[in-house]
Structure formats: C-alpha cells, structure tokens
C-alpha cells in the first residue's frame, strides 16, 4: 500500500506522537500469546511453541496493517471462547445449550457461514443497481467468514472433547479444508475490496465461494462428512498446522484471480452500462496481485509439504500424484508470471489462462484425491 501524503508529512515532522493504538494492539496480541502458552505450554514441543509465536507475529502484523481485521480477529476469538465456555468440558452441551445448538457449535456456525455466503451472492448481484445492497453484501461476507472461523475454532475444541487423544487442528480432512477455503477466499476478497475501494467484484468472487459451499453442504448431508474422526498416524504432525493453511491461501488467491479473469472476459470491450463499473486495468492489476500472492504462498506450502514428506515418508519428493500435481500447478503459474513480468503479457489471454489455472488447481486439490491413488489418499471423498 502506498504511503499517503498525510502520513509522509507526519513522518517528516518527526512525529513522535506515541501510537497508543498500535502499542495497545501489540500488547494485546502478546498477552493473548502469553495466556495460551501459560495454559497449554506444558504440552507443546518446540515446534508448536514456534508455531504459536509465529501465529502471534502474523496476527500482530495483520492487525497493524489492517486494523479492521485486527478487531475482527479479536471478535472471532471472543465468540470462540464464549462457545468453549458454554461447552464447559462436555460435548453433550452442544445439543442442549441454546447458543451452541443454534449459533456457535461448530456445525451450526458452519451452517450460518453457508447461509451468509449464499446471501452475500444475492446481495452483491442486486448491488449492481443499488450501492447500499453492495454494502450489505460486504457485511454478509464479513459475518460469514467470521462464522466460518468460529466454526473451525470451536471444532478444534470439540475434537478434544471427544477424547484428548483424538483432538486435532481442523484443517485435516476434505470437509474442514473446504470451510478453510471459503473463509480464506472471502477474506482475501475483503482485503482487495478495501484496497481498491470497489465492491463490484463481490458477486464474482462469492460465486466460487458459493460453489465451495454447495459442495460442503452436499458432503455434509449426503456423506456425513462433518463427523469428527481421529487422524491416521501419518497426519499427526505439527506440519499440518502450517502446510495446510499456507496451501489454502494459495488456492484461495488462485480462485479469486480466476473469478477476476471471468469478470475481465465478460466486460472487456463491452458497451453495456454495467461494464462501466469495471476498470479493466484495475482487474488486470488485481489478477496479477492475486496470482503473485497465491504463488508465493503455494511455493511456501509445497516446500513445507516436502519437509513434512521427508519426515513422514522418508523422502522430500517421491513423485506421488499429489506432489506431482502441486508441481504442475506451480509450473503453470510460474509460466503465467514469467510471461506477465518479463514479456508484459496482459489482457484477455492472461484472463483465460488464470481461469484454466483454477481448473488445474481444482484437479490438484480434488481430482487427484478422487481419481488417482497415492500417499495423500486420506483426502479422498
């Protein structure tokens, strides 16, 4: 984000005004990390401690550059703590206590997330003729992502309530990562919505989130996928906590870029009134930023995956179908970025390519588990 004139002037005047907000925020995060460590530190190994500290640094940074997100994280944390408090150590309370049963038990929260996200699509759609409805759309996305995050946090607790040995971080099976995907994609969208001060892409991005919600609901209602099942030994590792979220920042950003590509192709050169709402250069820029962000995190995630593989399977690379498809996704976006950055390719070719990229990504994410066998078979349907 570019610096504003006012910021620059303030800095120039050697503005030593004590930034209470920032210091307060950092202190809050530090205290939260301290409390978690005080509560659970005895059970952590060195890696888990490092992950906790890293999470603290990450949250502090996000809240510093995006204060609204900082407040949002606090709200999610408080609601999740409230849910944990109402559970009071017994899973049975999920069925009897009103707030859990209808609002913030993990499954209820996920259902709320689904409903809010679907409603946001409608709101953004109507929003093309009424800018107030667009604001409602944004609010629905904020609320939906919050519900999803609370759902994941509470599910984490619920897994430990089933049995302390069973407990695991809920990014470990297909059902959970679909929630993660929906949440991350919508938060990335909210970030860009603020950055570009433009809500016109909400409809498109929330469509792909809506598709994920459709799958999630089918998976829950027809396959009972929301049941918490213990992890197989291969998945019991601290790597899970960093490999999977990094991966889904990548997937989410690629999905966002593809939907921007769809909007680009529909409105490029169009004379219709609605097309005036879209600035092609801005779409192009956003598509690049999103793919760059996705690529950076996907690189990190694939490398983390290789490190984990080295520990679990005895080799950092074994041409397992999932690994191979991760490489294909990576090579695909590497080619995209090379052509854009060094050859200066822009426009509809790159938009088409980012849409195709989403299908390649989708195959790596889902298709491999459905059609090909391999070491990642625990992700299967």
């Amino acid at each position: 984000m570019s610096i504003t004139e006012q910021d620059l002037l303030n800095k120039l005047e050697g503005d030593s005004k004590f930034n209470f907000k920032l210091v307060g925020w950092l202190a809050l995060v530090a205290i939260a990390v301290g409390l978690v460590f005080w509560q659970y530190g005895a059970k952590f190994d060195v890696y888990e401690t490092a992950i906790l500290v890293g999470t603290g640094v990450g949250v502090a940074w996000i809240g510093a550059v995006w204060p609204a997100m900082g407040r949002y994280i606090v709200a999610v944390a408080l609601i999740s703590l409230a849910a944990i408090n109402i559970y009071d150590g017994s899973l049975a309370n999920g069925e009897t206590k009103f707030f859990l049963k209808y609002l913030i038990s993990s499954q209820s929260a996920v259902m709320w997330m689904s409903a809010l996200f679907v409603m946001s699509i409608v709101a953004y759609g109507v929003g093309y003729v009424s800018s107030f409805t667009q604001k409602v759309g944004s609010a629905l996305v904020w609320a939906g992502a919050g519900a999803g995050l609370v759902g994941l946090m509470v599910r984490w607790h619920e897994s430990y309530l089933i049995h302390p040995d069973v407990g695991y971080i809920p990014v470990s099976n297909l059902y959970e990562v679909f929630i993660l995907f929906a949440v991350i994609t919508s938060i990335l969208y909210l970030f860009y919505e603020r950055r570009y001060q433009n809500r016109n892409l909400g409809f498109f991005v929330m469509l792909v989130v809506g598709a994920a919600i459709g799958f999630l609901l089918w998976y829950h209602f027809s396959r009972g996928a929301s049941e918490i099942r213990p992890l197989v030994p291969a998945l019991q590792s601290y790597w899970m906590k960093i490999h999977v979220p990094a991966n889904f920042v990548g997937y989410g950003a690629f999905a966002l870029a593809a939907m921007v590509g769809v909007a680009y192709l529909i409105f490029d050169g169009s004379k219709r009134a609605i097309a005036q709402k879209f600035d092609m250069q801005m779409l192009d820029d956003l598509m690049y930023r999103s793919i760059a962000l996705g690529f950076a995190f996907f690189t990190l995630a694939t490398i983390l995956g290789a490190l984990w593989a080295a520990e679990a399977w005895g080799g950092y690379w074994s041409w397992d179908p999932k690994e191979t498809w991760a490489l294909i996704v990576w090579l695909n976006y590497a080619a995209w970025l090379h052509l854009r950055l060094t050859k200066g390719w822009r426009g509809s070719v790159m938009a088409w390519w980012s849409i195709i990229g989403l299908f390649v990504t989708l195959f790596a994410f889902l298709g491999v588990n459905m059609f090909l066998s391999g070491l990642h078979s625990y992700g299967s349907l």
């Binding site: 984000m1 570019s2 610096i3 504003t4 004139e5 620059l8 002037l9 800095k11 120039l12 049995h163 040995d165 069973v166 099942r229 213990p230 197989v232 030994p233 291969a234 019991q236 590792s237 250069q281 801005m282 820029d285 760059a292 962000l293 690529f295 950076a296 690189t299 990190l300 490398i303 290789a306 490190l307 080295a310 520990e311 679990a312 399977w313 005895g314 080799g315 950092y316 690379w317 041409w319 179908p321 191979t324 498809w325 490489l327 294909i328 090579l331 695909n332 590497a334 080619a335 090379h338 052509l339 950055l341 060094t342 050859k343 491999v368 090909l372 066998s373 391999g374």
Partner: protein, 645 residues
C-alpha cells in the same frame, strides 16, 4: 564455432525456451500420474492390451520420472535456468549499485511519471529537503553536482532483484541437491553391469556378490522388513522386478512393534522399538523408538517407520470338514506353506490382529468395529490354480446373530465374497457344519427328507411321499447351489408370471421346513448360543449354506490360537543432498516474496538555480509499471513541492 555457441546460449537462456520446458514437464508429469507407475508388465497388458503396453514401455511412460528423456528435459530446465541466471545476474547487481546520474534534462518529460515546478528556495536547502522527503518515503538518495544543476537520484527495492536471483538460484540448488539424492547412479551402475538385480527370494547370505551395492554408496532409499527379534545390517533397493542389497554401517534389531488404537477402533500410532548395534561406537548399542513422523537419524542414515506386516506368526488351525469326516488340527507359520489333501498346498499369507470394519449396528447406524483377528491363506491345487481365503477367528454379530466370516476369491483382482456362518454356543462353525452335512451328504440328506415328508404329510401314501421327497430333494439341490435366489430364477423360467410370487413363497417355506428338519436331525439345538432366536439362526444357516459350494473348499479352517510375530517395514535413507535442497527451498521462498513485495523504483529530482529560487524537474520509473507507483510518485513530489513553498 563461437557464433554457434553464442547462439545456443541465447536460445537456452531465452524465455520462450524456458516456458516451453515448463509446459513439457507439466504435461509429462500429468501423464505420469494418470498412468499408474511401476506396475508389472502383466498389469499393463491386462488393462491396455499388448500394443499400448509396448508403446508405454518403449516411451518409458511406465517409469516416467526416472526415464531418460524426462531426465534430459529436467536437465534442460536446469541449464536454461542457470544460463538465464548467469546472463542476468551481473547486469542486475550493477543496476542495484548504480545511481544512474546520466539522466539528461531533455529526457525528464519522456518518463511516464514526471513533473516540473518552481520553488522560491535556495539550491542547497531544496536539495537537502527533497532528500529528506525521499528518505522518509523509503528511498536511498544521492546528490550529484552537474554542470548547470544539482541532480538527486533516489532508488528503492533492491530486494526485488535479489529476489530474482534468489528464486532462480534456489531452483538450481534444489535440482542439484535432488540429483545428489536420486537413484540415477544406481540405474547407471546397473546399466553398465557393475551390479545386477536379484530376482529370487533368497536369504541374505545366499545373495550373490553382484547384487550388493558398496558400503560407500553416497545415496540410497532402501527398505527393510524386520520381524520382531531379528537383527539385520542390510536393506533392499527395489529394481525392476528384483532388488539390490545395500549394506549398512550398523545393525538394526526390532525389539518390539506396537500398534495403538483410538477408543473407537482406528489405529492411532505405529511404533517400532529398535536396538542399534554399532561396534565402532561407544557404547556399542542403544535402544530407541521410532514412529510415523518421528524417524531416527544415526551416522548420516535416517530410519523411518513406513509400514508393517506379519513377521511369521504361528497359527493353530482346526480344519473342519464341510462334507463329513474328521477334523484335522495343525499349525502353520505365516509366509510358509505346507502340504494339504490331494496334492494341494496351503500357503499361509498373513495374520492380522486388528481388523477395523464398518458394521451395520441397527437400521440407521454404521459403526467402525474391530472384528478381531483374521488370517489369509491360499489353497493351491496341483495344476497351479489357487483360491485365496480370509477367515475371521471370532464371530461378529450380524443382525443379532453371531456369524463367522469366511471370504474367498479366485484372483487378486476380485473382492473377497464372504460366507457368514452362524456360530454355535462355542463360537465355532462346527454346529452349522453338522447341519450342512445333513443336507450335503447323500445318506443323511435322504433321512432328513423322509423325516420332513413324514412330518408334513403323515397320512400320505408311500408313493406320494416318495414324490414329495423327490421334489424336496431337487429344492435342496437348488438351495445348496445358489440359495433362494436360484430357486427364484428357476421359477422365473418355468412358471407364468401371475403365479410366481405364491410359488416362491411356497418353495421358500418348504426349504425352510427341510432346514428345520436337518437342524433337528443334526442335534445342533443344544449347541446354539444362549438367547438366540432359533428361526433367525436357521435363516442365517440357510443363507450360509447357499454359499458353501461357491466357497469351493473341502474344509473350513478355523483359527483356534496364534502366537503373533510382527514385522516392521522400515525405510532406510542416506540423502546427502537434503541440506542443499533445503537451502535452495529457503532461497526460493525468500526470493519469491522479495520479488513480489519489493518494488524496484527510481525517482530523479533535478534542481536548476534560478534568479529567485530553483526550477525543479522530477521523473520516476517503476520496472513493473505497477499502478500504485503513480500514486506514490505524486505523493512524494507533492510533499516536496509543499515543503519548498
């Protein structure tokens, strides 16, 4: 010559060439995931036919990632990346250091971002102030006195170019590390005849010297299946249809292999307790536990928990005759074979203590349950044909009736089909066998049929009774062949549609009556488990009886006892390139983030003294032409202007 070299250097380092390679590798890798790798020739031929199998093998598609042309393409990518790197790096380093003071007055307006204004300040003051603004905005600055003006050059984003170097260097380093850890050298040694794979199943001491790899082999990924209580100092590398032997600098003994389960049944952990014996060290041995995700690294070699299997459990078996006779008791050891009746042999393949399977508990719920121990064996006939069997030791409740599961299949490709034999009071299939034998054995069956006919129609004439017996006999024959399903098939063939349903009802009632009679004659009654509904048990028995011919065995093998010996599957790896790969990964990750989030930008500000102030020109450039540089340039120049007013 030099021209050719130069030209090929240009092609190799060109972007189009690199992109083509990326696409070729992507497509080839995708093919490698769709076509299952490293299957046997027969498996491919079965699926695709001879022509395609030959084609796949010729193209190396069945072992794609180790095949020559694929490695060549990968090597090309490595060369392309390295040449690109060597071509670009010097210029980039120079560019980072250079202040680019050679911007002429005339070229300022030609920049996409440029601005001109006058300020009523003295020269030195303006220069100092502008430099301060630029520094505050994150730029490094330097001023230079030019003939008729002062030029301030400002730049930022040096990490961008370092990022470029980092990513590409990272990829080169990863490839080199990966190559160091690959098995290319072993394939080469095999191709040139330094080592030859062993295909027979031999004891370690019997394996010829030509199949042994040297101690100093720099990198390998070997496997070792170690039964409990056994010590080994060698591991195996799969190679084609055979294997090579890799000696280890220490001995490994498996003290114990343990599986833990969650309360609901699924496995929670696999642990191997190992003893490492190393004569050259002191102390010369130590014990340690490895598990999935927690390997052991010792003397540059890493030992991973990768699988487990049976290590030769001892099984106590009662062979219960299905068609009459005495039961035969014997013992067998997993992975051995023994002679059996009529020149056939039994091959004991596996024993598993825990078997977690889904079980229909009631109409709505299916739960994962532990079905208890089972064992797998094959009966191989003289002609080489074999049937494979899997038999559970303990009864499993199926709709309230405990049944013993016996699975059979004729080829590896099929799923097992199961007979579900209702258990007697002792949890044994013996009660059912006696009942079944009363129907399968000619003499006993005749008695059952006569008794049944007598019970049904006590007042009929001998002739009528004989007719009834004959039709009951044919009915029993059908049921034993294929159950009530077979009866229904026959009805469909010979009875008009309108009467089929009543006919079937009548016949199944009759079959049930005969089974009840056989049940009475065989005296199983006293043998039923307590609290079991007799008619439901009998229904199960009828169902089981209909599968016995398909089961195709003379005896049902019941497991009466076992002494489990487990074997742990270890993966033993020496990978000296790992450190290099991780270094490359770090370079790549840092490089990617630096490249995307550090923007290489320059701003020049030119101060020309005027009579009452300075005339200022500013220009800016961003390599990526990012949209937000425009805003940044305007902000910075606006602030400079305001400060100077």
């Amino acid at each position: 010559m030099q021209k050719v070299l130069r030209k090929s250097f240009l092609v190799l380092s060109s972007m189009s060439f690199a992109i083509s390679l990326l696409i070729v590798i992507s497509v080839a890798s995708a093919i490698g995931t769709i076509l299952q790798q490293n299957q046997t020739f027969v498996a491919y031929a079965d699926k695709f036919g001879g022509f395609w199998t030959d084609f796949f093998v010729f193209m190396g598609l069945t072992n794609l990632y180790a095949t020559g042309w694929f490695l060549v393409v990968m090597a090309m990518l490595l060369i392309s990346t390295s040449t690109c790197l060597t071509r670009q790096t010097p210029g980039m380093l120079k560019e980072i250091r250079s202040w680019r003071f050679n911007v002429q007055k005339a070229s300022f307006p030609r920049y996409r971002q440029h601005v001109t204004f006058d300020a009523p300040k003295d020269l030195d003051g303006s220069v100092a102030l502008s430099q301060r603004v630029l520094k505050t905005a994150g730029y490094e600055t330097k001023a230079e006195q030019q003939p008729d003006a002062m030029l301030v050059s400002a730049k930022k984003g040096r990490w961008n170019r370092m990022g470029y170097i980092g990513t590409h260097l990272g990829i080169v380093v990863i490839c080199i590390g990966g190559l160091m850890d690959s098995s290319v050298h072993v394939s080469m040694a095999e191709r040139f005849g330094f080592v030859t794979a062993e295909t027979r199943n031999l004891r370690l001491s019997e394996i010829e010297q030509e199949s042994w790899l040297p101690n100093w082999n720099p990198s390998f990924r070997a496997t070792l299946n170690l039964p409990e209580g056994v010590t080994s100092n060698a591991a195996f590398l799969p190679s084609g249809e055979g294997y090579l032997v890799q000696p280890l600098p220490f001995k490994i003994e498996l003290i114990d292999f343990r599986t833990q389960h969650y309360p609901s049944g699924p496995p929670k952990s696999f642990d191997s307790e190992l003893r490492i014996i190393d004569e050259s060290a002191s102390p010369s041995e130590f014990a340690t536990v490895i598990s999935v995700n927690h390997p052991l690294t010792y003397r540059g070699i890493t030992v991973y928990q990768s699988s487990f299997e049976d290590g030769g459990s001892n099984l106590k078996i009662d062979a219960l005759p299905i068609y009459g006779g005495e039961k035969i008791s014997f013992e067998g050891e997993v992975k051995t074979e023994r002679e059996w009746v009529e020149g056939s042999t039994i091959e004991f393949d596996d024993f598993r203590l825990f078997n977690i399977n889904p079980l229909q508990v009631d109409e709505e719920t299916i739960e994962e349950r532990n079905f208890g121990p089972n064992f797998t064996y094959k009966i191989r006939q003289k002609d080489g044909s074999a049937r494979e069997y899997v038999t559970y030791m303990q009864p499993v409740p199926m709709q309230g009736i405990p049944v013993i599961l016996g699975g059979m299949r004729q080829t590896q490709r099929e799923e097992f089909s199961y007979v579900q034999i209702p258990a007697d009071r002792l949890g044994s299939p013996l009660g059912f066998m006696t009942l079944y034998n009363h129907l399968a054995d000619r003499t006993l069956r005749d008695q059952v049929l006569v008794d049944a006919a007598n019970a049904m129609r006590p007042n009929d004439s001998d002739e009528d009774q004989a007719r009834l017996v004959a039709s009951l006999d044919s009915l029993v024959e059908q049921v034993l062949e294929g159950g009530l399903a077979r009866v229904a098939e026959n009805i469909e063939r010979s009875v008009p549609e309108a009467q089929r349903e009543t006919m079937f009802q009548t016949l199944s009632d009759l079959a049930f009556t005969v089974f009840a009679q056989a049940y009475a004659n065989s005296g199983v009654m006293d043998e039923l488990p307590a609290g079991i509904d007799e008619s439901m048990w009998l229904e199960r028995a009828l169902f089981a009886a209909s599968g016995m011919q398909l089961y195709g065995a003379t005896h049902f093998f019941q497991l009466t006892g076992f002494d489990q010996v487990q074997a742990s599957g270890l993966q033993i790896v020496r990978a000296p390139g790992t450190g290099l790969v991780y270094l490359g990964c770090a370079l790549l990750t840092l490089g990617v983030f630096a490249m995307f989030y550090s923007h290489q930008r320059r701003i020049w500000v030119r101060f020309e003294p005027q009579e009452n102030g300075v005339s200022i020109m500013a220009a800016g450039s961003d390599v990526r032409r990012a949209a937000d540089f425009e805003t940044e340039f305007q902000t910075v120049t606006n602030v400079i202007r305001k400060q100077l007013m």
